[in-house]
């Protein structure tokens, strides 16, 4: 299974989860896990998603960044392996 972690940070307001998850749905990407917290005023959400079989990763990332701009939040996309490399011995 190919997985990725999408991180969303910014000022909390309505529609963030809806906006991001609808982009994922458009690309047929399944959300495996989701966690969110508020740190001070900052909204932090991390989504673990399944990208197995997804051909157009570039398209998804571009769309996510666009959606982030629209929602005025910072979105980052990283394949899961990079976290494993950095945080697991």
């Amino acid at each position: 299974m190919k997985r990725a972690i999408i991180t969303v940070t910014g000022i909390d307001h309505t529609g963030i989860v809806a906006g991001i998850s609808s982009v994922l749905a458009d690309f047929g990407v399944n959300i495996l896990d989701i966690t969110q917290t508020i740190m001070g005023d900052i909204f932090v959400m991390a989504l673990l998603v399944d990208i197995t079989g997804l051909e157009d990763i570039t398209g998804l990332v571009e769309k996510l960044l666009e959606e982030g701009d629209r929602l005025k939040v910072k979105v980052s996309f990283e394949r899961e392996e990079i976290f494993r490399a950095m945080h697991r011995i």
Binding site: I5, T7, A46, I57, S76, F77, E78, E80, M86
Partner: protein
Amino acid sequence: MIFATEEILETIRMIQVDHLDIRTVTLGVDLLDCRRDRVEDTVKYSKEKLLKATEGFLSTVKKVELEYGIPIVNKRVAITPVSLLLSSLKLEDYIYFAKELDRLALDIDLDFIGGYTVFLEYEVSNTDRLFLKSIPTVLNETERLCASIVTATTRAGINLDAIKETAYIILETAKLKNRPIVCAKLIVLSNPPTDNPFMAGAFHGIKRGERVINVGISGPGAVRSAIERLPKNADIISVVEEIKRISFKITRAGEFIGKEIARRLGIDSVSVDISLAPTPQEGDSVARIIERIGVESFGAPGTTGLLFLLNDALKKGGLMASSFVGGLSGTFIPVSEDKGIAEAVSKGALTLEKLEALTNVCSVGLDMIPIPGDISPYTLMGIILDEMAIGVMHNKTTAVRILPVPGGKAGDWVEFGSLLGGAPIIKVNETSCVDLFERGGRIPPPISGYRN
């Protein structure tokens, strides 16, 4: 969630706030089999092979960058040293080859191509002399080609004659079109690594394989911000441990990205250079790390000790993270490229002599330092010799990348722009060393050079 939110956020912060990036992915390409009797043929086959070897390189790097979310700043190629591919007695041949390489780099949009390299640690042959002579024209008439001159190794000793000729070449390179910045593409080396991803000293070493991926990671900002989060009175071991921890993580990221690019290109060999390479961006500075640990300004007494600590902890963390650490792997202290270091020179806290002392405990050497254009060639020779001696004696790489500024006086600010930054022209000790270089010859290797 398989990773703690803190772990995810730490990674994101390192990239977005602390400027963690892969500074360069450098593809090493062996061109030895492109040697032919006729120069035109050598050039033709070299170009053909390079085109084939770099197929898909840029697009793969771009794709990996996007998928893994870590910026990859430079995409470069290092080739077999040109002086080994061409031994012609015509100056035009060298210039022709260089221009063709540069055009190719422009055509396929490489940031730099390294390997206009010559080895002079034992002697300067007739063809070497022509190669040297070509450097001022080559560097002034090309954009993306980098040159390096090896004048010393721990095995060979130090070639004074090579240093003498090299000093004139550096001055001529800066003077030819009155552009000191061209000298940023020229480096003098002792003990050069053969898998260095960083310019200007990158070349593809003999028997390093057909194609290799050399990754240069970088994260002065990430190290600084980790130390900033420590309590101000944290003991020195906590500082060491924090640097090791961060170094481990950024090395892992670099190794992973390097391996992924190599895998997609069908390349087996990856080497990770764990150097801390600063940029002029605020916070992405080696000086600020040192200052944060405990000196008022970079260059203050105590700086050499702290730079040693930083360099050593960096290596320990990096070596734990990857079995394929190579290249220069240490802390860079390029004066113009590091805002904090340039500032230290401006306020008189840092001198050329202190910079030389610092190169004992870090990689690489006297780097990106503007000097007065009217410097005596002999003084420049002396500066190079001293730096080479440190490398040879300590069995490590040292380098001199110095920028003579025509008409410039000590204290004048020189701005190079973008990633190259700016710095004041440094004061040079002009006490004479003429007699030394009139003797000429080669200083024999140190006792450690006879290790067998």
